[in-house]
């Protein structure tokens, strides 16, 4: 089990790797991958009971990344978990590589093929329902974008998950307040999100999506018995790199050499603090 500082150190390493992978591939969803990095860090290093060895076990916890475009964050974390050598990420988006720009099950550790939005929550509702039918104790997690919530299929699943009292299901919204066109509240407002999901019958908690402690506490166990959990993670798109933060243009922009160097410098500066405490 990692200490808080070790975990914070990992987030910085992940951000470094995400940017490098995107730069090498010449493609990627930079802003969204950086906004969900801490969420994935906490899930895979503290919460999910899944390893490369247990990945085919029927009782493993499941994670489905519904906002599939932030795949670089997922691939980097899966590599760190040992699902495949991180060197393989050098083939991202290249001819013949399984590492395409959205999650596919050809990549070890990926549960479901996603990328079209509004699919993760229905699938996870089915997984959680199956778990309940079997009396299994695995938990199911899915990560949604805030812009993604405009897809109607989410709300069909929100009804069903509450109807069946699926407390083994946790949906997380990477609420970075931006989407490709601009601020989510201007494109298609989904607020008030807490009230909406609460009215649908979900247990809801809002956390700072970059506070590893708050995330850990929110994911540690279901928020309520007999209800599905919704964790609204308030995040910053492009988190960790000053000139990418809250900039809609960085939704899927690839950094040039100079930008990458500056971004890595910023991360390396931040790395020094937690790394001191490591030993």
């Amino acid at each position: 089990m990692y200490t808080d500082r070790q975990l914070a150190y990992k987030s910085l390493q992940y951000r470094r790797e995400i940017l490098s992978v995107i730069k090498r591939a010449g493609a990627g969803h930079t802003g969204g991958s950086l906004s969900c990095t801490d969420i994935l860090n906490v899930l895979y290093n503290r919460v999910l009971r899944v390893t490369p060895e247990t990945f085919s076990s029927p009782t493993r916890d499941r994670y489905v990344q519904s906002k599939g475009h932030s795949v670089e964050a997922l691939f980097v974390v899966l590599a760190d978990q040992g699902f495949f050598p991180s060197k393989e990420l050098e083939t991202l988006c290249q001819y013949g590589s399984h590492f395409v720009g959205h999650p596919t099950r050809k990549v070890p550790g990926v549960e479901q093929n996603t990328g079209a939005l509004g699919h993760g929550l229905p699938i996870c509702t089915g997984m959680a329902l199956g778990g309940k039918m079997d009396g299994a104790d695995f938990r199911v997690f899915t990560l949604l974008g805030d812009g993604e919530l405009a897809e109607g299929s989410n709300w069909e699943a929100a009804l069903a998950a509450a109807h069946y009292g699926l407390d083994n299901l946790t949906a997380i919204v990477d609420c970075n307040a931006l989407q490709i066109t601009g601020p989510t509240r201007e494109v298609m407002s989904t607020e008030p999100l807490i009230e909406k999901f609460a009215a649908f019958g979900w247990a809801v908690r809002t956390v700072d999506g970059h506070d590893l402690g708050e995330l850990s506490a929110a994911f540690a166990k279901p928020l309520a018995l007999g209800q599905p959990s919704l964790v609204i993670a308030r995040t910053t798109k492009g988190k960790g790199v000053s000139f990418m933060e809250n900039q809609v243009g960085w939704h899927h922009r690839v950094p040039n050499e100079e930008e990458l160097a500056q971004a890595l410098r910023e991360i390396d500066d931040a790395l020094e603090l937690p790394s001191e405490a490591e030993g």
Partner: protein, 333 residues
């Protein structure tokens, strides 16, 4: 909720059916539901998912007998398919049951991604398919489903022609470890000759080399009656091939019919674009080339004529008389 409909077969056609000794069976939907109940009673991993469709799916007895093996999602077809995919991914043998018109149009992306691309072995069951809901209008017709799903990788398409094929198709789907689409109608069906079902293979219902009918689903009986009529009136021996698996297609049987028979007529309860007919056409042309006579009978690309399934079949020549006339016309050319 269906309007009263005239019989699907004319008096003349019923006479020919009687002469062939054919017995009228049940609607395939009922066979599907009773077969599934039988299988699920012995296998608790079998789960049915419905979208307020258990009544039209004839699944009320299933729900009564096996309440723990049926999941209701309400009127939400996208969610139906997503939930089915999730259930399948955790080890359930899932039959997702919804009217074919909604299942394959509204949830098309869920079928493409969550079932086929993610390789979750769901059996999608399109009920009241084709123009089974004839008089309810085009919103309730599924004349696009085979075309749409043929264009998706990693899903098989099964369209049973009689109770035997329906029962075999359900048994096969229950054992299948890959996605499959089953298509069932509401009309009682005659039991066809030659009980042989092998996944991916066609069924030779009647031999003959003067012309061939290659047909699927509820249209096969009309082809068989036409073949009998053509023998009586014109002395023609027509082959009748039932194609329960539209995908994968029995390529050998299709190419054999094209190379041996004087004309090939395909018949389907589907738009003439993208269904069985075009699958056969491309198979034949990409074989050794083909200079023979070929005709696709189905619903043309137009505003479908209003009426019951029987009316619509009759209107577009999916009938004993209509199909016999099509063969005569082709052979005259």
């Amino acid at each position: 909720m269906s309007a009263p409909a005239p019989p699907i077969h004319s008096v003349a056609a019923q006479t020919v059916a009687a002469k062939l000794g054919l017995k009228l069976g049940r609607p395939n939907l009922e066979v599907f539901a009773s077969t599934l109940l039988e299988l699920a009673s012995a296998d608790e991993s079998i789960v049915v998912v419905t979208s307020d469709s258990r009544g039209s799916g004839k699944l009320v007895p299933f729900a009564k007998a096996l309440p723990k093996q049926i999941v209701e999602v309400g009127i939400a077809e996208q969610n139906l398919v997503g939930i089915a995919a999730g259930l399948a991914s955790v080890g359930k043998k899932v039959f997702a049951v919804s009217p074919a018109c909604f299942l394959t149009a509204r949830s098309f992306e869920q079928i493409k991604n969550d079932v086929a691309y993610s390789a979750n072995p769901v059996a999608l069951v399109g009920i009241s398919a084709g123009v089974s809901y004839g008089a309810l209008g085009s919103t309730h017709h599924s004349l696009h489903d085979l075309a749409a799903l043929r264009a998706v990788n990693n899903i098989s398409l099964v369209v049973p022609a009689d109770n035997f094929e329906a029962s075999e198709a359900v048994r096969c789907a229950a054992k299948f470890s890959a996605p499959v689409y089953l298509r069932f109608g509401k009309a009682p069906l005659y039991d066809l000759p030659e009980h042989k079902f092998e996944f991916g293979c066609s069924r030779l219902v009647r031999p003959g080399n003067d012309a061939a009918f290659i047909a699927t689903g509820e249209t096969v009986i009309h082809a068989l009656l036409a073949a009998q009529l053509l023998e009586e009136t014109d002395g023609l021996k027509c082959r009748v091939v039932s194609v329960p698996t539209v995908k994968p297609l029995d390529i050998d049987a299709v190419r054999d019919a094209a190379s041996v028979c004087g004309a090939v007529v395909t018949v389907e309860e589907h738009m003439v674009h993208g269904g069985l007919g075009e699958a056969c056409a491309s198979t034949i042309i990409q074989g050794n080339g083909y200079k023979g006579r070929f005709k696709i009978v189905g619903i043309p690309d137009e505003y479908t004529v209003p009426g019951s399934q029987a009316d619509i079949f009759h209107h577009y020549g999916i009938s004993m008389i209509g199909l016999a006339e099509t063969v005569r016309g082709l052979l005259k050319r």
